[in-house]
Assembly symmetry: C2
């Protein structure tokens, strides 16, 4: 953020960075994902990213700042996945299933054991004592509600929903379905079971 030239290659001066900060952030996020914010040491993050601690500190600031950045990155990724899935050009039930399929492919990504939702597994724990994390969490949840609701509203206008259906309530139920899937994934539920759960929830939501 020091200077931003429109040129592709301005002229980096000193010793070149050994690692790409963006992918390092992804690896750091993976570490938090597995063991939570408090449960993950900077040494583990250092091992996961291949950056040593001073480099981490120079690139992202302290542990908390690094986490907050990872959290923001995850939100953006989730929002993008959701909006792509909710595209207006497919039927409502298909759109909702796309959302849950997208979520599942995130929850079951990575090398190790299925890890569920990064937010549910890390931010929810810290939200009580850390107001900034709490605020990020609240805003993210709100976004999900709003996006679901908007999609349900257009569905109702298109006649895909009964006229007396309440998009706000159904939106919250759609979010609730996502939440329960996220939790169950972390509890070890198999992917197929969660997919089936989603399918049935979609049926109820679509009336």
């Amino acid at each position: 953020m020091v200077q931003k030239k429109s040129n592709t290659e301005p002229k980096p001066r000193g010793r070149p960075r050994a690692y790409d900060p963006q992918t390092a952030l992804l690896r750091a996020r993976d570490a938090f994902w597995k063991t939570g914010y408090s449960g993950t040491s900077l040494d583990e993050i250092s091992a996961a990213t291949g950056m040593n601690r001073p480099s981490l500190y120079a690139a992202f600031g302290d542990k908390r700042a690094l986490y907050l950045e990872a959290l923001a990155q995850y939100w953006q990724l989730s929002f993008a996945s959701m909006r792509e899935a909710l595209a207006d050009d497919r039927p409502l039930d298909e759109a909702l299933m796309h959302v849950y399929e997208g979520a599942l492919s995130i929850y079951f990504s990575g090398d190790g054991r299925p890890r569920g939702c990064f937010v549910i597994g890390t931010a929810v724990t810290e939200a009580i004592e850390d107001s900034e994390i709490r605020q990020s969490l609240a805003a993210g949840l709100q976004t999900f509600d709003t996006d679901f609701e908007a999609r349900l509203r257009t569905a109702r206008e298109k006649g895909e929903l009964k006229g007396d259906a309440d998009p706000a309530v159904l939106g919250v139920l759609a979010t609730a379905t996502m939440h329960t899937i996220a939790i169950r994934a972390r509890a070890g539920a198999p992917r197929a079971e969660l997919r089936e759960l989603a399918r049935k929830a979609v049926k109820v939501i679509c009336g």
Copy 2:
């Protein structure tokens, strides 16, 4: 667990305990509740319980054993609250609302900031790497599903639900509603808002 006589007062021998283990466990649970398993030190637990670390260790074993016991205690409390609420002698919608009201009074209990669900805030984070916690979590979720489903099944038999309603699916939705409430409480949502959410979800579930 050393000896269990049917007599009320067998004969405690050495120096008497300064604190009641059961309430100490509650205080320890409160500490975990606020800052999670990894985020809570034994010193903080020691301060919260009034027991010093060696006494804690003697009474409960190490940190993890103490946590597991607190988790088991919380589950039992939750199950009891739920089953009381789901009593067959009230209408389905009332019973469900009782469940959510009970959950809310747990989520909003304590001195400090609303703390949501103990399980969601602590066990879900640790479940990835700790198989025993994961197993406890899975079993607990299952119990909720089952209890909801059983209650919904009797409701359908009594004609409170449409004949084509699927108690299993609606049970999962009922659990999902609980999950989303738990998460939102931790994110700072006001109690009245969550109560309203529950009310509307109950309406959808009851058809």
